[in-house]
């Protein structure tokens, strides 16, 4: 559905979205990587509905993803770096609680 504009000739970095490698321009957001990789959703709400990046400006929270093992990141607000791992956010996040 989305492809890079032809005039962009920026250098790229390599990230994975759900394990699938993709090259995206330096400075792009993780949400852009999700769209460029052709995914039609990146998270499931707590109620089980699929969501994909929508507002691309940090407002709607529909682009939540687990990025480099940190859950619930707003992927549109995170800049890609080489080797970044972007994974589906399924439902509300888990918390690891140490024994009190």
């Amino acid at each position: 559905m989305f492809r890079p504009r032809s005039e962009t000739r920026r250098p790229t970095v390599s990230v994975t979205v759900e394990g699938r490698p993709i090259a995206v321009p330096v400075g792009a957001s993780a949400a852009a990587a999700v769209l460029a990789a052709g995914f039609d959703s990146i998270r499931e709400t707590a109620g089980g509905s699929e969501r994909m990046p929508y507002c691309m400006m940090g407002v709607c929270f529909d682009c939540l993803a687990e990025i480099d093992d940190v859950p619930n990141r707003q992927s549109c607000m995170v800049e890609v770096r080489d080797g970044m791992r972007i994974c589906r956010q399924i439902g509300a996040r888990r918390i690891h609680r140490a024994a009190g």
Partner: protein, 371 residues
Amino acid sequence: MEHYDAIVIGGGLVGSAIAYGLARAGQKAALLDEGDVAFRASRGNFGLVWVQSKGDGAPHYQRWTRQSADEWPALAEELLTKTGIAVGHHRPGGLHLCLDEAELATRHAMMERMRTQSGNFGFDYRMLDRSELAELLPGLGPTVVGASWTPYDGHANPLNLLHALHKGFVEKGGRYIPNSTVTEASAASGDFRIRAGGGEIGAAKIVLAAGLGNAALAPHFGLSAPVKPLKGQILVTERAREMLPLPLTTIRQTAEGTIMLGDSQEDAGFDTSQRPAVMQTIARRAVLAFPWLRDLQIVRAWAALRVMPPDGLPIYDQSERFPGAFTANCHSGVTLAGAHANLFAPMVAAGMLDPALEPFSARRLDVPAAV
């Protein structure tokens, strides 16, 4: 001029609950809502239906709060049936954490006083020690020494409650009039006229439930409502899997998974700005209680103004000078929604407040200040 049995001024939780109860009782009612210029405590509150800390030294308030919490399940069920809106009411009991032994002893003494003051009405509570508490709440911070618990406490989604009350009111035949700041009011017993939002309406009864606006409105009706703002700030985290099976005084997890942190109190006039120092204190205390909160991102934060009577207790009155004019003032619009819809509104419909509400009259405040 349109004429009603009753006009309710104030479309927040207090006014909406009363208006809903009036319409359900068959009264032809109008609900005036000021609009976005209002301070709207109902849209900034914490969402507790809270009993355990209310009414030390004022058993009538403890009882009223308990009665309201007892009305809540029926109100929530009725709103779901009538409007299709789930207000998310849960009543698993509630906890108040104590972070050191002195706090725990003070809390225990207060709970015991309240049990004594409750008389035959009863007041069940338990003090939980650290090991009991740790079983209930894994991941408890090392400085927590214990907690008080009562079965009466719970929580709900306050925005859904407000929505459901508005919808239920309209479905029962009530007329909701938005963007209507009261600009003129005239009062004669049984004949009240209000100019608001460019129109004039009249009614045999009027209920002032305008939150902080009541302070200025009440004298027009021979009433007194010396309420003042008390600022509270709230932090909201990202959604997480269920971590807290029951609400705490200053920390609760919503049905959707967000965790709300709050309960600051600042006397800052009508200022609704947020202050980082207060937000830090809220976060620091929360992390002392539950260190795992440290990993959660804060996604929203806001400040709102409580509607606070001078002694913290609600004010309910019917005007002696202009019978038919009532006031309702409190800082617990969520907790008291059950009482307002199911107990207070029928009294207004009948034209007489129950003698049990006598101690809530603003007359209690007519004491000359000590020099």
